[in-house]
């Protein structure tokens, strides 16, 4: 044994840039603190875990800011882990939407008698996975990040474990998620086999061939994209979403539909625009089909929903279709207009705006449910009469989702249309028309919420006002402020433009 050790080259530990890892380290420390506090404190002290989790997230934002001020792109582990502007923008998005999730969770979890400490532990772990995802630039890191963010999410989806629908939510999400991961992993192994590397930039260099792609490459890319299509709930891989959204605790539903979806898009952006950049002939048509049917099917089914959570679930499916659209045409964008990479800012901008408005909508759903104990659309009848402030906020979020200026959503849709017309090919224009028709269709069901709130009578005549807890109130205020700010200023597009990759093949 000893002589074996003597034989080996002396081990040099890799140099690690701790500043680059600081957000993850801060978050990991708060994860440990949450776990310990949960262990030490008894039932009456458990509430502290939510505060610690919230503070931990905000604290993790500090190194993100210092890294942003520093400005240099950092590449670690031979390019497997990269801190560039894209990573920082996405990390900020994850941390902020995680913070809002904690704000809307606090009362729900405390009052619902669920395990508190473990809940925040899981939430933070999932967010850690997202932070890693923002920086992961090789297949293995992406896979580990995906598992790190998904496994806690499977558990969180079933947190109401004495409720059958909660169990169904968790189980469906888990089984389909694992299946998707397996498909994706198979694709990754094929790509690794062909290119001989797991680093995305090297894969990008190896796949950048002029001639027709080998079938094995096609299958590899197809499988990987399908794996993430599950994650972002694109049709026809969306079937888990409505049941999971309905059965999961509402804060987790909000979290899944915003942060988890964003993480899926982040991975897709990295894989497609770094790893498979030269093979847009493979993924372009694939994304075209995904985008077109995702927005159409999502909208058409959303029309028929009478439960607001399910409606928001399908609406988020449809919104994912809009986010997929720029992928579809990326390969057709002229080089002098930025080339395929010009498709990234619209997606990032959309993600930012979508996060604000969707979290806001879910926060309102939670506040209203505190009174009505229901998620039925009809329970929103006459909301304007007894809770005008809430009704106005919900109106803002709903019409922002519908894309009515000057509320945030229009700019998101606008940048997507712009990318589509920028490409200018017939296929892109057809997709733009499909998207335009879809945004009109979506208005039907968004407006039905407004109609319920403003124009229908109160269903049971109970006009007692709704008390809004401070944490939910601040979440609402944050979401509303960002929704309006994004609509009338260039903040979102500015960040979308900032989010560029530091290292490309």
């Amino acid at each position: 044994m000893l002589h074996l050790l003597a034989q080996a080259e002396p081990f040099r530990s890799p140099t690690v840039d701790f500043h680059a890892f600081a957000p993850e380290i801060v978050l990991s420390v708060s994860i440990v603190v949450v776990l310990l506090v949960d262990l030490v404190f008894d039932e009456r002290g458990k509430w502290a875990t939510s505060s610690i989790a919230g503070i931990g997230l905000l604290a993790a934002l500090v190194p993100v800011l210092t890294l942003a001020v520093d400005g240099a792109d950092r590449s670690l582990f031979d390019g497997a882990y990269v801190v560039d502007n894209f990573a920082l923008v996405m990390k900020a998005l994850f941390l902020l939407s995680g913070y809002v999730t904690i704000l809307i969770s606090a009362r729900y979890i405390a009052e619902g008698d669920y395990y508190e400490g473990e809940y925040y532990f899981m939430l933070l772990c999932s967010l850690l996975g997202m932070l890693v995802m923002g920086s992961a630039r090789d297949l293995i890191s992406i896979f580990v990040a995906l598992e790190l963010l998904s496994i806690p999410a499977y558990l969180l989806a079933g947190w109401r474990k004495r409720d059958l629908r909660g169990n169904e939510a968790s189980l469906k999400y888990y089984l389909l998620g694992v299946f998707a991961a397996a498909v994706m992993l198979y694709g990754m192994s094929l790509i690794f086999g062909v290119t001989g590397s797991t680093i995305l930039t090297e894969i990008g260099a190896a796949l950048d061939g002029g001639e027709a792609p080998a079938p094995i490459v096609v299958v590899g890319i197809l499988f990987i994209v399908i794996g993430f299509a599950f994650k972002v709930s694109a049709v026809p891989f969306h079937t888990w979403a409505p049941d999971t959204y309905e059965g999961a605790p509402t804060p987790i539903t909000a979290y899944l539909s915003v942060a988890s979806k964003a993480a899926g898009f982040v991975a897709l952006l990295q894989l497609v625009f770094i790893g498979f950049l030269g093979r847009s002939d493979v993924w372009g048509p694939l994304f075209w089909v995904l985008a077109a049917i995702t927005m159409t099917v999502g909208n058409l089914i959303a029309l028929r929903q009478t439960n607001i959570v399910r409606m928001l679930a399908y609406s988020s499916v449809a919104q994912a279709g809009f986010m997929l659209a720029p992928f579809a045409v990326a390969g057709d964008i002229d080089v002098d207009r930025g080339g395929p990479l010009a498709a990234i800012p619209p997606v990032v901008t959309y993600l930012l705006i979508y996060a604000a408005m969707n979290l806001g909508a879910f926060a309102v759903v939670m506040v209203v449910a505190r009174k009505t104990r229901s998620g039925e659309l009809s329970s929103y009848g006459g909301l304007f009469e007894y809770a005008p402030g809430l009704a106005v906020l919900m109106t803002v979020f709903i019409f922002a989702l519908a894309g009515i200026p000057p509320l945030g959503g229009w700019l998101a849709k606008f940048v997507v249309f712009r990318a589509l017309l920028d490409a200018g090919t017939p296929a892109a224009i057809v997709l733009a028309v499909i998207a335009a028709v879809n945004s009109v269709i979506s208005l039907f069901y968004y407006a039905s919420v407004a109609r319920e709130m403003w124009m229908r009578p109160v269903p049971d005549g109970d006009r007692a006002p709704i008390r809004i807890p401070a944490s939910l109130g601040s979440a609402l205020a944050l979401a509303a402020a960002f929704t309006l700010l994004f609509g009338v200023s260039n903040v979102a597009t500015r960040f979308g433009d900032l989010a560029i990759f530091g290292f490309l093949p």
Binding site: P405, P406, F414, L421, L443, R451, M455, T493
Partner: protein, 512 residues
């Protein structure tokens, strides 16, 4: 104070919003405070309008004035460009004035379910959107303001409207939104197609597009882009056959909503044609003009026939709107400076007169709780002053010379006699004849309405009901409108003097 020039238009747009935000902070029960706040805001906004009127350089009415140009959304090179010329100014002032009058009228006339706070806030948001549309000189800015008016109007109809309010509200919303979706695609197409000519960067600035668009875009593409804009604006006008939302919206909307809808919102569409579609794509406009003219005269006749079939006073006025906007569109379709002058005048006149008619209809409804013409009658006996005012408005609306309506209709018909170069004279003269026949119809249906509502003996069912005549705030809201109908009728140069230069600038591209 020179520096205020730079902020005057911004103030005109955002003062109402500031007022709305202030009102948000006042509790709902303080109704008096809300009314005062809303009135003060709208009067202050009108004050800004007065300042604009006083400082507008009337010798340069064809140029953009009070302009500012600030970066806004840089990545899409959309800028905050505002400015007014002789076309925008009268419409901007009209919008400011109508809002003040509507708020005055509202003082004691809040429709069910009451709630003055929300109602007045919506009116102020509407005003911000309308004023913004009239001053925006950037397509994206224009689009945003164009859409801002949708939501308040949706809620105004849907919450405070009549029995079928929800249907009417969503119909209004969907029709307009569908047009907007195509319109924004057209705007984007313009953005990209001038990119090369503009030094590699696309632009949404209207002056730049006027300079670049027609020379750098192929003819077929221009036609398509014009088509997209046509859908957006024509639905808003509304032109036949996209008008079906209008009677529903008008019938169901509360009085204040109807007045604003008729007086201002419909003008956003025609204004869009004059400000954006025609100057930017003059060649496509020439191609489209015969079709627009055709739809316009169909609208005139269809609107008139529609009026004759109505039994509800408000619905009748709504159909008369379709007919009147037909004249405006006919004026626009001639593509001559004469026709466009007539169109702008027609827009203002229609705003004043139809606004007034809806006011009267609202007050009648409030007293009788019905607008069924079959149940009305003898208004002149029950409430003589209101009856006379209704008669006066009907006269103005049918285009009696000496009142404002005449100067909107007559020149538009006249302009069709001699349309712009490139348009078929025979065709437009045919349109002219049809439009002239339309004026006879107009006299027919308006006098018929007047006869059924105001003349004769009151029906027996009202014997026991005490019908009050005018209230102080009805006077306050109506007298300014009536005065202007007369003043503009006697001295139309007040508007023509303003618009003439600006219109010449707008059509100057056509002759190139």
């Amino acid at each position: 104070m020179d520096s205020f020039d730079d902020y005057a238009l911004t103030a005109a747009v955002f003062l109402p919003l500031a007022g709305a935000i202030a009102m948000l902070l006042v509790p709902r029960d303080a109704e008096g405070t809300h009314k005062l706040l809303a009135l003060a805001t709208s009067v202050a906004t009108l004050g800004v309008g007065g300042y604009l009127l006083a400082n507008f350089d009337y010798d340069r009415a064809g140029d953009m004035q009070f302009g500012i140009d600030k970066p806004w959304i840089e990545v899409i090179n959309s800028r905050y460009i505002v400015g007014i010329d002789g076309i925008s100014l009268p419409l901007l002032i009209l919008s400011m004035a109508i809002v003040v009058l509507v708020i005055l009228y509202s003082w004691t006339h809040f429709p069910e379910p009451h709630n003055p706070k929300a109602f007045l806030i919506l009116i102020l948001i509407l005003e911000a959107g309308m004023n913004g549309t009239f001053v925006a000189q950037d397509l994206i800015l224009f689009f945003v303001f164009f859409e801002v008016v949708l939501l308040p109007m949706y809620f105004m109809i849907g919450v405070w409207g009549g029995e079928n309010r929800q249907y009417a509200a969503i119909k209004f919303f969907l029709f307009t939104l569908f047009g907007s979706a195509l319109m924004i695609l057209s705007f984007l197409a313009l953005f990209f197609l001038v990119q090369e000519a503009n030094g590699g960067e696309g632009t949404f600035a209207i002056p730049d597009l006027i300079r670049l668009a027609s020379d750098n875009i192929t003819r077929d593409t221009q036609l398509l882009i014009f088509g997209g804009m046509f859908m957006g604006f024509a639905i808003k006008v509304p032109m036949f056959p996209f008008h079906t939302w209008l009677p529903d919206a008008h019938t169901q909307a509360p009085t204040q909503g109807s007045v604003i809808l008729a007086a201002i919102l419909l003008k956003l569409g025609t204004y869009g044609f004059i400000r954006i579609a025609i100057p930017i794509l003059p060649d496509a406009a020439v191609e489209w003009a015969p079709w627009i003219g055709g739809l316009a005269v169909i609208g005139i006749i269809y609107g008139a026939l529609g009026c004759l079939a109505q039994s509800d006073m408000k619905r009748l006025i709504a159909f008369s709107s379709v007919a009147h906007m037909g004249y405006v569109m006919l004026g626009i379709a001639t593509l001559t400076d004469f026709g466009l002058n007539a169109a702008v005048f027609g827009m203002v006149a229609h705003g004043l007169i139809t606004g007034m008619l809806f006011f009267v209809a609202g007050s009648v409804k409030e007293r009788f709780h019905t607008l069924e013409l079959a149940r009305l009658g003898g208004l002149l006996k029950q409430a003589p002053r209101m009856g006379w005012i209704l008669g006066f408005c009907a006269m103005a609306s049918l285009g009696l010379p000496g009142l404002a309506g005449f100067w909107g209709e007559f020149p538009a018909i006249l302009a069709a006699y001699n349309p712009a170069e490139g348009l078929s004279e025979e065709l437009f003269r045919g349109y002219m004849v049809v439009a002239a026949i339309g004026t006879v119809f107009a006299a027919g249906y308006l006098l018929w309405m007047l006869q059924r509502a105001a003349f004769g003996e009151p029906k027996a069912e009202w014997d026991a009901v005490r019908i009050s005549d005018m209230h102080w705030n009805e006077y306050a809201a109506w007298v300014p409108l009536l005065v202007f109908i007369v003043v503009l009728g006697v001295y139309p140069n007040l508007i023509f003097g303003l618009t003439d230069d600006a219109v010449r600038t707008a059509v100057s591209a056509l002759g190139r």
